[in-house]
C-alpha cells in the first residue's frame, strides 16, 4: 500500500470525521465564543487536510495554500475576539 493510497483511504476520512464533529459544535454551540472556537478548529483541520492531500497527490505546491490559510485563520480569530470584546 503506497502512501498516497494510505492517505486517501484512511487518513482523509478520519480527518473528515473530525471536521464533522467540529461542525456539530459550530451548529450547537450555546454562545458566540463557542462557535468562534469551532470555526478556528475547522480551519486548523483544513490545514491538516491540505498537508495530507499534498503528500497523497505528490504536489508540494499545495503547501503554499496551508501558509495562507494559517494566516487567514489567525486574522479571523483576532477580528472575532475584538468584535466580542467591543460588544460588551
Amino acid at each position: 500500500m503506497s502512501l498516497a493510497e494510505f492517505g486517501t483511504t484512511i487518513i482523509l476520512p478520519f480527518l473528515s470525521l473530525a471536521i464533522v464533529m467540529a461542525f456539530i459544535r459550530l451548529m450547537r454551540g450555546p454562545s458566540l465564543p463557542d462557535r468562534v472556537v469551532a470555526l478556528d478548529l475547522i480551519t486548523t483541520l483544513g490545514i491538516g487536510v491540505i498537508g495530507v492531500y499534498a503528500i497523497a497527490t505528490n504536489q508540494p505546491v499545495l503547501l503554499d495554500v496551508a501558509v495562507v490559510l494559517a494566516l487567514t485563520a489567525f486574522l479571523g480569530a483576532v477580528a472575532f475576539a475584538y468584535y466580542m470584546e467591543r460588544r460588551v
Binding site: A18, R25, P33, G48, L63, A81
Partner: protein
C-alpha cells in the same frame, strides 16, 4: 525509509487532530473546549506538516513547512488568549464543577483592566467558590 517515517508522523498527527475535534464536541465548558483545540490541534498540524517536510525532502518545501509550523505555534496561543479574554468579559458560564475562578472580581467591568491580588504573594490563598 522516508515514506515509513512520513506515514508514522501522519498517523500521529491525525490522531491528535481527531482528539481535538472530540474534545471540542464533548467538553462541558468553553474554556475546556479551548484547551483541547489550542493544544492538540496545533500539535497535530505540526506533525502532519513535519510529515510533508520529511516526505518531499526538498529545501523549499521543508522551509515552507517549518515556517508554517513556527507561525502556528506563535499565533495559536495569542488567538486563544484573545478569544478567552473576550468570552470571560461576555460572561460565558463556567462548568459547574469548577473549583477556583481566580479572575473573579479582579477585572474592572467597565475599563477591562486587571487588578492584582490584595493578599501578599507568600500567603496561601484558600480556594474560592465558583461564581
Amino acid at each position: 525509509m522516508a515514506t515509513i517515517v512520513s506515514a508514522i508522523l501522519i498517523v500521529i498527527g491525525a490522531l491528535f487532530m481527531f482528539v481535538a475535534a472530540l474534545g471540542v464536541l464533548r467538553m462541558p465548558d468553553l474554556f475546556l473546549r479551548m484547551s483541547a483545540t489550542t493544544k492538540a490541534a496545533t500539535l497535530g498540524v505540526g506533525f502532519i506538516l513535519l510529515a510533508a517536510a520529511v516526505y518531499f525532502n526538498d529545501f523549499g518545501t521543508t522551509t515552507r513547512a517549518l515556517a508554517t509550523i513556527i507561525f502556528l505555534l506563535i499565533t495559536a496561543p495569542v488567538a486563544a488568549h484573545m478569544i478567552g479574554r473576550a468570552a470571560y468579559f461576555n460572561g460565558v458560564p463556567l462548568w459547574e464543577g469548577t473549583l477556583v475562578d481566580e479572575l473573579q472580581g479582579r477585572y474592572d467591568e467597565r475599563t477591562h483592566i486587571l487588578e492584582s491580588a490584595e493578599e501578599s504573594p507568600g500567603s496561601k490563598t484558600e480556594p474560592q467558590t465558583s461564581r
